[in-house]
């Protein structure tokens, strides 16, 4: 058996390792993704004051601090039996839109987009944001930077700090908005709506008008027919901040709909001996291995999962795009992993439109932004992180200290799907042992589409993503190594 290892993964640090096993003919037998998980969070949080959790958990991951902050804050709302005032919920959701704006912009233009704008076969040295600017122009680059910064600024105004927000409290938020801040946010949000429209147009011009790309999006190796999961509002429209968890099946019909506190009734986690990562699955179906289809409990989260799990977008422009998305890609559900990129841009547009609604809401300058808390107990908080459903679950003792904490993070929810996408992409693109960096980038594209954030998002210098490919023969002896560093 031959083994191909990509270690670590370019542009997505962490110490993920993709291992591809080839059979005796040099075709892909199987592929695995291995990621070390951060350990000991439960022990670390035991005995801490519950109200510190939104700050502590925002440190877990350098990528989604805002998502952890609010999943945590919402778990505390439940645990302390308190409903935030309407204004506080709106302020939180507005801030959450800011987070989606900068996070989705960063992913499309810096991480996922270069594969399309510059091309999947372009040298790695050009397949980055500088390559995008080379192609799209310096002015586009300036707009990208400007609007990403706007998203950050909105988050910082509301959250106190952009990276590690301090505003979320059980029962509300610590800070409201004054008139000047409202004005400032209004202007930024307006510009962000235009930029989102521009980004969708760019996607149209660069990707959808290129037959090769559309064929690639629709091709078998990038197709995965799993269940889909995401938060929806009362009308089953996508919502990032609040709502019910909805799961739809391979015919886009509702399979499950439940509130966060019931997640343990519907979702369980499978453990594989070769992976630190757990594989969540739908209990009702069960774990039947890494396969897709109706008889497998694997589901997908994130932009594509959310769009598939909903009946539309709650804002008009995004909803129009939503319809066009399904018309263009052959109906619902869309199962192409590469369609995550388009879905992400539709969500970007929704985030900007929703932010527009919220900043123009008369409640937004209300001073009533916190309600008194009740007795401590147990609480589950669910939000949609940019990359998928995120669940925090705490048990508090009578003094309001943490007894037990359990988190299911977005990328974990996608663990089964990511592993299968890598395997399928590898199968489609490595034939008879023929391997080169271009092919490997296409496998990475399957993976990158999910915008995974690994808990091991440590930042050590140079850290770097030098890529190493180790090819082993059928006796697991190394016979070839390809490095890009």
């Amino acid at each position: 058996m031959k083994t191909v290892t990509i270690d670590p993964i370019t542009r997505l640090e962490g110490h993920g390792k993709i291992t591809i096993f080839l059979d005796k003919d040099g075709n892909v037998d199987n592929a695995y993704l291995q990621i070390p998980e951060l350990r000991g969070f439960e022990r670390f949080s035991q005995g801490r004051r519950a109200e510190d959790m939104p700050q502590i958990t925002s440190r877990i991951c350098g990528v989604c601090p805002v998502a952890h902050h609010f999943a945590s804050t919402k778990a505390l709302d439940e645990a302390f039996h308190v409903k935030p005032p309407a204004a506080a919920s709106k302020l939180r959701e507005l801030m959450y839109c800011g987070y989606f704006i900068y996070d989705h912009i960063l992913h499309f233009y810096f991480l996922g987009g270069p594969d399309f704008v510059v091309g999947p076969d372009a040298p790695a040295s050009q397949r980055n944001i500088l390559g995008v600017i080379q192609k799209a122009g310096v002015d586009v680059g300036k707009e990208v930077i400007k609007h990403r910064a706007y998203g950050q600024k909105i988050t910082a105004i509301l959250g106190g700090k952009a990276t590690h927000p301090v505003c979320g409290l059980p029962g509300g938020v610590s800070k409201g908005l004054d008139k000047e801040e409202v004005q400032e946010i209004k202007e930024m949000v307006k510009s962000c709506v235009d930029f989102s429209k521009f980004s969708l147009k760019l996607f149209d011009d660069v990707v959808l008008k290129n037959k090769d790309y559309v064929d690639m999006i629709k091709s078998d190796p990038y197709n995965l027919e799993t269940y889909n999961m995401g938060l929806v509002d009362a009308r089953n429209k996508v919502n990032f901040y609040d709502g019910m968890i909805r799961v739809t099946d391979q015919n886009a019909e509702e399979f499950l709909k439940f509130s966060g506190e019931d997640y343990t009734k519907h979702v369980s986690e499978h453990v594989e001996p070769w992976s630190y990562m757990k594989f969540p699955y739908l209990k009702k179906i069960g774990w039947h291995g890494l396969k897709d289809g109706k008889t497998s409990g694997v589901y997908r989260v994130g932009p594509l999962g959310r769009l598939n799990a909903a009946d539309g977008m709650a804002t008009p422009l995004a909803d129009t795009e939503y319809k066009r998305f399904y018309e263009t890609l052959g109906g619902k559900p869309v199962n192409s992993t590469l369609a995550y990129h388009w879905a992400r841009l539709i969500e970007l547009l929704y985030a900007t439109e929703r932010a527009t609604e919220l900043i123009n809401d008369s409640d937004i300058t209300s001073k009533h932004i916190r309600n008194p808390v009740g007795e401590p107990s147990e609480g589950v908080g669910v939000v949609e992180a940019a990359r998928g459903t995120l669940i925090h679950h705490y048990n508090l003792d009578k003094n309001g200290l943490i007894e037990k904490a359990n988190l299911i993070v977005a990328t974990t929810n996608n663990a089964g799907a990511i592993t299968m996408s890598i395997r399928d992409a590898a199968k489609g693109m490595i034939k008879k042992g023929e391997i080169n960096n271009g092919i490997l980038n296409k496998i990475e594209m399957a993976f990158r589409a999910y915008d995974p954030c690994f808990a091991c998002a440590t930042h050590s210098l140079p850290g770097g993503m030098p890529m190493e490919i180790n090819i082993y023969d059928k006796n697991k002896k190394l016979y070839k190594t390809i490095k890009n560093f």
């Binding site: 022990r43 950050q152 440590t458 930042h459 140079p462 993503m465």
Partner: protein, 161 residues
């Protein structure tokens, strides 16, 4: 000359937080209106946002390289970093971010970006606020190194790259 000293790391991830600890320790010793002390969690674009507008940036972070021993402190210009990749899975690296900013006409990038890298022999995967014994020893050493570098900069402010 305006300088920023930026501790980078995760304060709840064991030795990974050493950069943050160094900056917090520096705060006790350093009172200089021209030097800002700050903390950062991620790399790339966010880091660039924080250092823009300063003449010099000193980054205190963990490094990993098979040729450097655990607890060794290395001082080097950012440009020496071989990788242009991110320190974070959802971001680009700082050298790449600087290149990007220059390409877009940004003129306020510090002309001197110096890294104090504290080597860890293994990545940190266990939550905790404490540093290991070996790495905690690097904190006073790194603080001294940075203090004397800031002193030297004062004496000889024209020294540039």
């Amino acid at each position: 000359m305006k300088t920023i000293v930026l501790g980078i790391g995760n304060p709840i991830l064991g030795d990974d937080g050493v950069g943050i600890k160094v900056v917090r320790e520096l705060k006790k010793h350093l009172k200089d209106p021209d030097v800002k002390l700050d903390e950062a969690a991620t790399g790339g674009i966010n880091l660039l946002d924080q250092i823009i507008g300063f003449d010099k940036a000193i980054l205190v972070d963990t490094i990993k390289n098979k040729n450097i021993r655990n607890g060794e402190i290395k001082r080097f210009p950012l440009g020496e970093l071989s990788s242009s990749h991110s320190f974070n899975p959802h971001d680009i690296g700082l050298p790449e971010a600087c290149k990007l900013a220059k390409r877009l006409g940004e003129t306020r990038i510090p002309h001197d970006i110096t890294v104090f890298g504290i080597a860890l022999d293994k990545m940190q995967y266990e939550f905790g606020e404490e540093l290991s014994e070996e790495i905690s020893k690097t904190v006073p050493k790194t603080v001294d190194m940075i203090m004397s570098e800031l002193d030297d900069d004062k004496k000889d402010p024209v020294e540039e790259i």
